[in-house]
């Protein structure tokens, strides 16, 4: 079981991967990827119970669904660093004939991916279905999912949120990447969503706040708490307060890096803030 400093080292390397992947093809989404690096690293290296290898059905292990598929760089990097596919394959991100498509897909057979995502708002429904399949299979493992906060503007989420509590899908932990930003600006400017915690609670969910969503200890504590609340008749929502672009000073406190790659100079600056830990691909 990795300790916090080991998770931190993985996170730093994942940040480097994200920046280098996006820079190489001059496209992709670094901001949200960097903001969720600590969380997804913690999920795959500490929080989730995972089998060796990959099979689509995932019986006997926890499963993760990425609904906001545009943060594929962080997802791919964490999967590769966890051993789902060769780390070197990260260099094919967004290239022709790659398994690492711009948005994650099962279509190219990339181990670790169980659903295509990118068109927003669909992942929670999928996660619920997978959670209900686990119940039918008498499999006590947990389904984790991640969603953007802006993504909650898609109405399908609210169908899913209503359904999950009505059907007591209590083996589901859906995390909202609460960074307050979306493509056109802050969520408060684009379409204010009000009190998300109150909304989830009003829909019958148990809500856990992780106020320091880029702090690994806070993530581990918060997710342990979330896990302890599963199996009690309610789905669990984690509001993960994150900083978009975390770990690269000029990418923080702005929505500008949602879908923009750094220049050569910016990459050098960003990498100097995140020294190599596990070795670049």
């Amino acid at each position: 079981m990795p300790n916090v400093s080991e998770l931190q080292d993985i996170t730093t390397q994942v940040r480097r991967d994200i920046l280098r992947m996006v820079h190489k093809v001059n496209s992709g989404h670094p901001g949200g990827s960097l903001g969720c690096a600590e969380f997804i690293v913690s999920l795959y290296n500490e929080i989730m119970e995972l089998k060796e290898g990959f099979d689509m059905d995932g019986i006997g292990e926890d499963l993760f669904f990425l609904s906001n598929g545009h943060i594929s760089p962080v997802f791919y990097s964490v999967l590769a660093r966890r051993g789902y596919f060769p780390v070197n394959e990260l260099e094919t991100f967004r290239l022709l004939n790659s398994r690492l498509q711009g948005h994650p897909t099962t279509h190219e057979g990339l181990p670790g991916v169980r659903i295509a995502s990118g068109s927003l708002g669909q992942g929670m429904s999928v996660a619920i279905g997978a959670a209900q399949a686990k119940k039918l299979n008498k499999d006590s493992h947990i389904i984790y999912s991640l969603h953007g906060d802006g993504e909650l503007q898609e109405g399908q989420n609210w169908e899913a949120i209503m359904y999950a509590s009505a059907k007591k899908v209590d083996n589901l932990i859906s995390t909202i990447d609460y960074n307050g930003q979306q493509i056109d600006g802050s969520t408060d400017d684009v379409l204010p969503m009000g009190d998300l915690k109150a909304k989830f609670e009003a829909f019958g969910w148990d809500v856990v706040d992780i106020k320091e969503g880029n702090d690994i200890e806070a993530i581990l504590t918060g997710m342990k708490e979330a896990k302890s609340r599963t199996g009690k008749g309610k789905p669990v929502c984690v509001l993960l307060y994150t900083m978009m672009g975390n770990g690269v000073d000029f990418m923080m406190h702005t929505h500008a890096w949602h879908g923009k790659a750094p220049s050569d100079e910016q990459l050098a600056d960003a990498l100097s803030q995140n020294p190599e830990t596990l070795g670049d691909y």
Partner: protein, 317 residues
């Protein structure tokens, strides 16, 4: 010509319900979902016998498609149920990304297709669903002709791995397929051999095509009738073999001529064996309220319309 007996009019949606009942008893991985239309989809017996394998999602079709995709992860075979309009157009992007592009083993089962749901009118009468579904890579599209064939198709698609669109309807129509006939996906059925014209029909227009063939026979015209229950993958071979003999073809479907069976047939013919073709289909229009019979008459989808199309295509040979 070969005589077909109507064993008693029945609705194809009840064929779906009967198929689900059987699957509930024989395949423990089959699960059913429904968006508040259990009565219309005739799946109450499945629910009564397998309550833990039924998911009532309420009036939330997008969520239903996503849940169905998720249920496949863990080995379930989900059958979603709602009207054709809400099974396709309303949830196109959910089907496209979470089911088709994700290669999920979901069976999208759609009742009340076409004009013949009748009095509810155009909001519910989708005539574009075959086109929407056949355009999705990897999607199988099936439109059986009667109660027996719908039941057989429902059972057959559980054994096929991959997404399937199964289309059926509300009204009671002639039931003439042998009760024990095995359903083979993608294999057209030769119903009547003829020499002058080929009629390929899908759905309940197959029965109308048989009536039309009788009428034509009385006029000295020998019509070959083929039941195309699977629109994708299309049985190119059966169609080509027939037109090489007859030299002309009429396609018949309860769907817009844009995007339907007729266009699929035209693609095969134009690339491999150019042949005069006439379309019995709706003419790029929405439907309206009325009884099924009135609508079939007004929109030119009955045996009379097929006979007229045959007479017209014969002149182009």
């Amino acid at each position: 010509m070969k005589k077909y007996i109507d064993q008693g009019k029945n609705d194809t949606r009840s064929g779906y319900g009967a198929g689900m009942t059987e699957l509930g008893r024989t395949n423990p991985n089959v699960v059913a979902l429904c968006a508040d239309l259990v009565g219309s989809l005739k799946i109450q017996t499945f629910i009564d016998e397998n309550p833990e394998r039924f998911f009532q999602v309420g009036i939330a079709e997008a969520n239903m498609m996503g849940i169905a995709a998720g249920l496949t992860i863990g080995g379930k075979i989900p059958f979603t149920g709602t009207f054709a309009n809400f099974s396709t157009g309303r949830v196109y992007d959910q089907i496209r990304q979470s089911i088709a592009y994700s290669d999920k083993n979901v069976k999208i089962c759609a009742s009340h297709a076409g004009l013949t749901l009748g009095e509810d009118g155009a909001t519910h009468q989708i005539l574009e669903d075959i086109g929407l579904m056949k355009m999705l890579p990897g999607m199988t599209v099936i439109n059986p002709c009667d109660y027996n064939q719908t039941k057989a198709a429902t059972i057959a698609i559980a054994e096929h791995h991959g997404p399937v669109y199964l289309r059926f309807g509300r009204p009671k129509v002639a039931n003439f397929t042998p009760v024990d006939q095995k359903f083979e996906i993608g294999k057209a059925l030769m119903l009547n051999e003829g020499t002058d014209v080929t009629i390929v029909a899908t759905g309940h227009l197959v029965w109308e095509a048989l009536i039309a063939a009788e009428t034509l026979e009385n006029q000295g015209i020998s019509a070959e009738v083929i039941n195309i229950h699977t629109i994708k993958p299309l049985d190119d071979e059966a169609i080509l073999k027939s037109v090489k003999k007859t030299g002309c073809i009429v396609t018949a479907e309860e769907h817009n001529y844009l995007g339907g069976l007729g266009e699929s047939v035209a693609r095969v013919l134009s690339t491999q064996h150019p042949t005069p073709q006439e379309f019995v289909a709706t003419n790029d229009t929405f439907g309206e309220s009325g009884t099924p019979e009135q609508l079939m008459e007004k929109y030119g989808l009955n045996n009379k319309a097929i006979v007229e199309a045959v007479l017209s295509v014969l002149k182009r040979k």
